[in-house]
């Protein structure tokens, strides 16, 4: 597994840099205008795309950049969701405060899980995380915790209203709220990954012994990667709970963990925009598959997955990068500058 590690390249020249920022601004405007152009239900689905993007970025930090496979990230998503739901339902905490609390709780849980996980590599780590993911629904249904978690019935939470009497409806407000948190988390992630920490994580992934020899504290960074990754996914879980207004143990089964893994691989490992492509895939492709075939939607889903993997083995983000590089190469003529 050696995806390209330089997803955070600097602009080739000042002019193209300005163009890039303009492009981002236009994209941001388009994204902000969406809730007014589509139905409420579609806005709700797009809010979930943003939520999954945060979760996938979290998983990507751990698996894509740091090489630790996790088949149990659904568990951190569940913890984040339940923290938010319990705080809102039992303690009347306002929804926006539950998000950072969920993040902090998951940071702690993730770090604590990462410590013993240091002993495990590759497949064995995957199995350990699988164990976490598969046990979470039953833990949530446990009789002793039922008073808090609501057992199999789950917890229903109320949709927040837009503040300051803004003339938008609840779904639109949730979209903007989630968008704001997502941009913040992505900024956080980008900052983390482009600096020393990011390089250490990548070094540990590619050449752990050399990294250790160069002075990187493998144990600390690997556990931190788990913690930070869990934090991102926990924040996503809290936002997801608020958007769906309902948490129940069966929402967070092992299939969710596997879906996250599918998302980052298809979106593009070790890529920040890859999280967004992956989120679009895991949210919309099952719906498309359902429309194409009532009898065997999962077979269609499988065909889509295999198709994507075949056509774009480095994920959507990787394919876009390669395509852009080819275009740039061609427009530069025979000069043949390096792809960035």
């Amino acid at each position: 597994m050696t995806p390209a590690s330089t997803a955070l390249s600097a602009p080739v020249s000042a002019a193209s840099g300005k163009l890039r920022y303009l492009g981002y601004a236009v994209l941001l405007l388009a994204v902000c205008a969406l809730p007014f152009l589509v139905s409420n239900y579609r806005t709700f689905q797009l809010t979930l795309v943003l939520v999954y993007a945060i979760a996938l970025l979290g998983l990507n930090i751990l698996t894509g950049y740091n090489g630790q496979i996790s088949l149990g990230h659904g568990a951190f998503y569940a913890i984040g969701a339940y923290v938010a739901a319990i705080l809102m339902d039992k303690f009347g905490v306002p929804y926006y405060l539950t998000v950072p609390v969920a993040g902090v709780v998951c940071l702690g849980v993730g770090f604590l899980f990462g410590l013993p996980a240091l002993r495990l590599e590759g497949l064995y780590l995957a199995l350990a995380t699988f164990g976490l993911g598969v046990s979470m629904p039953q833990l949530l249904k446990d009789k002793h915790l039922e008073h808090w978690t609501g057992g199999v019935q789950g917890i229903v939470i109320l949709k927040p209203d837009p503040p300051f009497g803004l003339p938008i409806n609840q779904d639109q407000w949730l979209y903007y709220f989630t968008l704001a948190v997502m941009l913040l988390m992505f900024l956080l992630g980008w900052n983390l990954l482009r600096g020393r920490v990011g390089r250490s994580l990548i070094a540990i992934r590619d050449q752990p012994i050399a990294a250790e020899a160069m002075g990187v504290n493998n144990a600390l960074y690997k556990s931190l990667a788990f913690g930070v990754s869990a934090m991102f996914t926990g924040v996503a879980g809290a936002l997801g709970a608020i958007a769906v207004q309902f948490v129940a143990p069966d929402s967070f089964n092992i299939f969710l963990s596997i879906t996250f893994l599918i998302g980052i691989v298809i979106g593009g490992l070790a890529s920040i925009p890859g999280a967004i492509y992956g989120a679009l895939f895991i949210q919309f492709v099952p719906n498309i598959a359902d429309q194409l075939s009532k009898a065997a939607p999962w077979a269609i889903y499988g065909v889509f997955m295999i198709g994507f993997m075949y056509v774009m083995p480095v994920g959507v983000a990787g394919a876009i990068r390669i395509a852009l590089a080819r275009i740039r190469h061609r427009t530069k003529g025979g000069g043949g500058s390096q792809k960035s």
């Binding site: 249904k141 009789k143 057992g151 199999v152 109320l158 129940a248 069966d250 929402s251």
Partner: protein, 402 residues
């Protein structure tokens, strides 16, 4: 304003008022139109409660029959039935999809206590009828807090109280073991049972065991209950687990007096897989005519049902009381829609649903009628106890309840 402009304005206003008066009789909410009524339905076609999926198929078949006969008040019913796998999060997703994407007029007959609990607040917040929910949990009869939710079946607590009363009368020194599904439905039955036993509940119930729908089997719970030495067994389980419980109890040689909740009292779906000879003696409550009961072999209403099944749902089992239930419930829906006439607003749907007076179904036991009112959101309230003799449910005693 000039005279001409005044006349024109007056004419326009007059026309507008006139035309609105003409369409005032026809009122539509999303999902209803001159030609169609869109109705959503959520059933567990897959998952641990998939035995109930046949109810959705029967209802859909009945709607097809109604459409072929001209529809309701000239409108065809577009019955959109989706699968939630008895999983509350999926039910939430499906309810949102039906209401916001498919724009249905109402959601009819969503099945299961946990699924309905998950969408109750949403349906009431959106003011979309959650009509004839397929569960007997007592909480659906709460028009004051949840005016958009209404049940259909007799309440679980009332049924359990009937069993408790029967035990107190026939076996006052019984030692009772209870197996229940660990969710609102199981706990509702348990509460009714304990209430019915009153002060003696603590001394009479000597063992309780619960299970989750995600459990593959409940064999260990049965063994545990046998170990308690109980001689009466209250079996609060959904069909798949009921069949397992009945079979296991017999196989380990435990022969208590068994009370089985009515939601699993189907010969075709539960007793046959369990083993008919293993189910002899089980007591349950019923409000529908059982298709195996010889008394209804030539009953006009049941023959109509049999003809309907053969023509519109030939794959459906004629031994399964679930198919009788779906037929009866669908008939109740059609009656509500008929009473709505041309006023197909969601508000009027609930108003007419709460306005059924002595409505009779030819598949309900004689003497049981459907009655609703703005303070009574429980359409069917009466039941009769019955005992399985190896071939059919033999009713005994009187019809209990209103």
């Amino acid at each position: 304003m000039s005279t001409r402009k005044l006349l024109v304005s007056a004419a326009i206003v007059g026309l507008a008022l006139g035309s609105s008066a003409a369409v005032a009789q026809k009122k539509y909410d999303p999902g209803a139109s001159d030609t169609e009524i869109k109705i959503g339905n959520i059933m567990p076609y897959s998952g641990p409660a998939s035995a109930y999926g046949t109810i959705g198929k029967t209802a859909a078949a009945y709607i097809k029959k109604i459409n072929e006969e001209g529809g309701v008040n000239g409108r065809k019913i577009n019955f959109i039935s989706v699968d939630d796998g008895y999983s509350p999060p999926k039910t939430v997703e499906m309810a949102r999809q039906l209401v916001e994407q498919d724009q249905v007029l109402l959601i009819w007959g969503p099945l299961g206590t946990p699924p309905n609990s998950a969408i109750q607040k949403y349906m009431n917040a959106k003011k979309v009828p959650q009509l004839h929910v397929y569960t007997g949990a007592t909480k659906w009869n709460d028009p004051q807090h949840f005016p958009w939710t209404m049940g259909w079946q007799p309440s679980y607590q009332a049924e359990a109280r009937n069993y408790a009363a029967h035990i107190l009368k026939t076996k006052p020194d019984a030692k009772i073991a209870v197996l229940y599904q660990n969710d609102d439905y199981g706990k509702d039955y348990l509460k009714g049972f304990e209430d019915g036993l009153g002060a003696k509940a603590k001394t009479m119930i000597i063992a309780k065991a619960s299970y989750e729908t995600s459990d593959p089997t409940i064999d260990s719970q049965i063994v545990q209950l046998q170990g308690s030495g109980a001689n009466v067994f209250f079996n609060i389980t959904t069909p798949k687990f009921a069949a397992q419980a009945i079979r296991k109890a017999y196989d380990i040689g435990w022969k208590p007096v068994q009370y089985l909740n009515s939601v699993s009292a189907s010969i075709g779906s539960v007793l046959t897989p369990a083993g008919l000879e293993k189910s002899v003696g089980i007591i349950s409550a019923t409000y529908l005519k059982d298709p195996q009961d010889l008394e209804w072999a030539n009953d006009k209403g049941m023959n109509e049902w049999r003809d309907f099944m053969k023509k519109y749902y030939p794959d459906g089992k004629l031994t399964d009381v679930f198919n009788v239930s779906g037929y009866g419930a669908a008939q109740t829906l059609v009656q509500v829609l008929k009473q709505c006439g041309d006023n197909l607003t969601r508000e009027n749907v609930m108003k007419q649903a709460a306005n059924l007076k002595n409505f009779e179904l030819n598949v309900l036991l004689p003497g049981i009628k459907i009655n609703t009112s703005p303070t009574d959101f429980a359409p069917i309230e009466a039941e009769q106890l019955a005992r399985f003799d190896g071939k059919e449910w033999v009713r005994f005693g009187e019809i209990i309840g209103k």
